[in-house]
Symmetry: D2
Subunit: 313 residues, 4 copies
């Protein structure tokens, strides 16, 4: 799209805690540029050791999940789709952290699923990152490095929404498929799309159960493309072998309904399936996993393998 793609590196001066259509872009980039973005972790690096429990380490943090952005992508206009090809995620420190935050997570009562019970005990885990190995002494377990961006968004239409929220704009989806090698597609509501990212994870299970993945500081490299005149309603992801849609809602079944309906519309619109046939195909061959069950809304990922989309007729 551009004749001379640049290499751009972005080190933010400060962060945004909302996906904000009104914030001044920190950089203007063009489709095709290789853009490397430095990101802080979800706690803005306040947790560094297992002694840093959340209730103390985060006591002075008015807001969490700092985002780098927005980036203004040249040529993106309302009604377009922004394609974000994720090239790489490199850690910028040699450890990842996770912690239990009082009244936050999948297996505790929360600020909205409220009960009168006491919170869970607090505990912090620091995982050493050595090459592609993650180890923690308390657990005595070794995991492999499978990095992704927990948060990746465009600015919403009119609203300025907390960076803790997932939604049609992407946001804090905490979906492991937002990873190197994959392309994420987002709706565009503002001139320049206004892209934000942050909250990189060294890895995470499906559901992000305790609410805090293996949080890292990182630099991520992406290449943008703008698909003119094509409007989508929810984030789409494409990998080598699958196409996916992320739906975010509560209760969780609504997220599943959104993700699958949008995937059916994708199969209908771009792969030539009759709508009910697409419904049938997903029934027999679709994937459906939980990205997060801990954020302001839950994110579910509906998918279908590309090999099932080559039709014989």
């Amino acid at each position: 799209m551009t004749t001379e793609a640049r290499t751009v590196e972005i080190k933010p001066q400060d962060y945004s805690y909302i996906f904000n259509p009104y914030r001044e872009p920190i950089e203007r980039v063009s489709p095709g540029d290789r853009v490397t973005i430095h990101t802080n972790d979800a706690f803005e690096s306040r947790i560094q050791s297992k002694d840093d429990v959340a209730s103390k380490a985060l006591a002075t943090a008015k807001f969490l999940n700092p985002q780098t952005g927005p980036l203004y992508v040249e040529g993106a206009e309302p009604g377009d789709t922004l394609a974000v090809r994720i090239e790489s995620i490199e850690p910028t420190r040699d450890f990842a952290v996770s912690t239990l935050v009082p009244y936050f997570g999948g297996l505790t009562s929360t600020a909205v699923t409220r009960t009168l019970q006491d919170p869970l005990p607090e505990k912090t885990w620091v995982w050493k990152l050595d090459g592609d190995r993650l180890t923690n002494d308390d657990l005595g377990v070794e995991l492999d490095w499978q990095p992704f961006m927990g948060t990746l968004a465009v600015a919403p239409d009119l609203e300025a929404i907390s960076a803790l929220a997932p939604g049609p704009f992407g946001g804090n989806m905490d979906v492991p498929d937002v990873c190197p090698g994959n392309t994420v597609y987002l709706p565009v509501w503002n001139e320049g799309a206004l892209f934000y990212t942050g909250d990189c994870h060294a890895r995470q299970g499906q559901g992000e159960l305790c609410g805090v993945a293996l949080e890292i500081t990182a630099k991520v490299t992406v290449v943008f493309d703008v698909i003119k005149g094509k409007a989508i309603e929810w984030p789409r992801i494409e990998s080598d072998d699958r196409i996916m849609v992320v739906g975010s809602a509560k209760p969780m079944e609504d997220a599943a309904r959104i993700a699958n309906t949008e995937l059916i519309l994708w199969l209908e619109g771009e792969y030539g399936f009759d709508r009910l046939d697409a419904y049938q195909l997903l029934t027999q061959a679709g994937g459906l996993y939980v990205g997060n069950m801990v954020d302001t809304t839950y994110s579910l990922v509906a998918s279908i393998e590309k090999k099932y989309l080559s039709r014989s007729s």
Copy 2:
């Protein structure tokens, strides 16, 4: 467990439409016996061609999802766990069917998620089964044979519950991991456990989106074991490389909470993890997919790979 394991084949005279602790066992089997059980499909074979739409073909069916059972497993007593090793599933016809049932499925309003809208159009798909290939002309897609039992249960404690329901007793979970090679563990509340199965599927996507998988008649071969004095609360599944728990509830997040909590208790009880460390491990490495989003409650499967359970310390 028995000195002389038998081979038993069970062709039912009639079916049960409830998981019933009061129904007379149709067979008594022993742990170690190879038990082959013939099963009808969820529609009791009323749908055979694409012209058999549900509203007509099922008009005379007072109840659906016929089960073969109960089988009385010698030695099983309340407070034990029944282990069901699934050896094989063989089709007993050369096609599978799926259909849209009015006001039933994941992307329609239903009898409980009620709206004033009209139902979706009706459509039936017949898939030809040839070796391990499934083909349907309308879709022009080829899928592979990945059979499992949609329904597998023990009789509940005191209650007699519809064969359409999943629950702590197993039941109509519609979870693809209830498949050959895997072992399913169920709580025992009645003498002889009182095992039921049926509703075999040639394959199914995660979520069983339209509510009807690729329904087949089949014969399944299982071997039972009884784990004396060990009580579990929800169905567990073990494959070569993973351990899993199935939670069934509404809203869907409750199914996720159940499945993950039970899996944590499993890691704590049998793998030596501290409870919060197990919570941490699932957060970073657990799996969480939707089995069904269409039945009386939703079934979610939480899992962890066995390779992460060998602790270095």
Copy 3:
């Protein structure tokens, strides 16, 4: 309906813990008979003082919520509606009890909304009942006597379901409008309808928040009627000034959808409203309160005042 209405008093020999279509009727009664039924409380009178905390007092109780029944109502056949006019509820002791049951209630995690948190502390409240005054020393508050039956059911179709469950069959709805002066309508699936009741409450707030109302032993007097050939799908209630439908489901919005849809169908079927006009009327004038937010499913009550049903045209 009968030429000579009898007066019948029923003191049960034992109780049923399920709504069971297979249990032998304990009495046969006719429409028009004045039937007085003795009921135990939900804990089968195991809690009598504030020292009787649930974890101890209920330790030997395998099942809770004992029901008196079934009563066989002459002339009731599948496809009919059973009308239950509630004449009176009289206490048979001079106190009511409430208690916190671990992991049960509206503001605690539960067996299905599971978390890893500790349960709430235990506490039992005994309320003195003196005429129509209820007093408790710990609270220092006086409440008035507003009795109703927490549980009132017919046997389901085929299934035998826990007496803790509400549903289309009525059951453990915990709806304060199941009270003297009102008539409850239930679907009939079995010959004789097979009526059960129990779980009387001296009073209860909307939602039955902690899960345990002011539990009493009582004798209730009802008069049955059978409406031949009229089938309903969910419990209906009629008071002097309102008509109501009780929907029971999870998540709570599904209970609200059921109750309102059924009420619209009632307005359409019996009051001559166009379906969308009935939707409009409930939008502007309907009532919608929470009966219980603690049982196996939640019960919501949709209502409309009769004064709005007299149409000018």
Copy 4:
């Protein structure tokens, strides 16, 4: 609080479609001032006759639910509580409208509870307002004038949120108790509180079933007070005889949990009840109704009559 209370009348030049902490105040008022605010209806008066169906009349409306505001209330600072006493609501036209909006409402699939079904038919109702009587010819029903403000908010902390959303900031709660004679308490996150209101209703049933109440243009008169140094978490309402809390969340049970927990904390903090005793009191005497089951989150109202709060001890 002020020595000379003023009378202020506010006719907005334009509207805000978000609860926006960044928008310039349209007026500065002081506690004690009688402030009369003109409001447009939720459709910005685009629907005036029964021929104005939503899909056409609203086709040019990019955003809905226009708000008048923000008003800067002198003396209000973050950490305070804003008290809004509602003095009166007067209609500024002689009719109210309601309509069915495609894929919006309580008994239809929606943008989040998505299905593949067609939308409901469209229909618009115009209700004539004559004194305190509302009549509609299609229904042939007469309702009485019971006006309230569907939307009443302070600007959130950091975020700018759609005027269609209810939340901790108040917002589009659609709760009939936001009516003349009552006082609404809201948290303050911004200097001046930044108050918004709009969306007046001639009346509405509990649940706002079809999603659109009897929408009117109006002028509302309120008097503000600022409670210094008192922070609350969710909107509170006080009437002559009850205190109430509004919780907004999905699924609906979470809204009920929030409202009741906050009400318990209120009883504990200001009425001297032990926390568990307050839980007990609400169990036996609390109210719990559905304000809306149609907005971005559901709003439930927990309440207790003041007569139960005068303790004998």
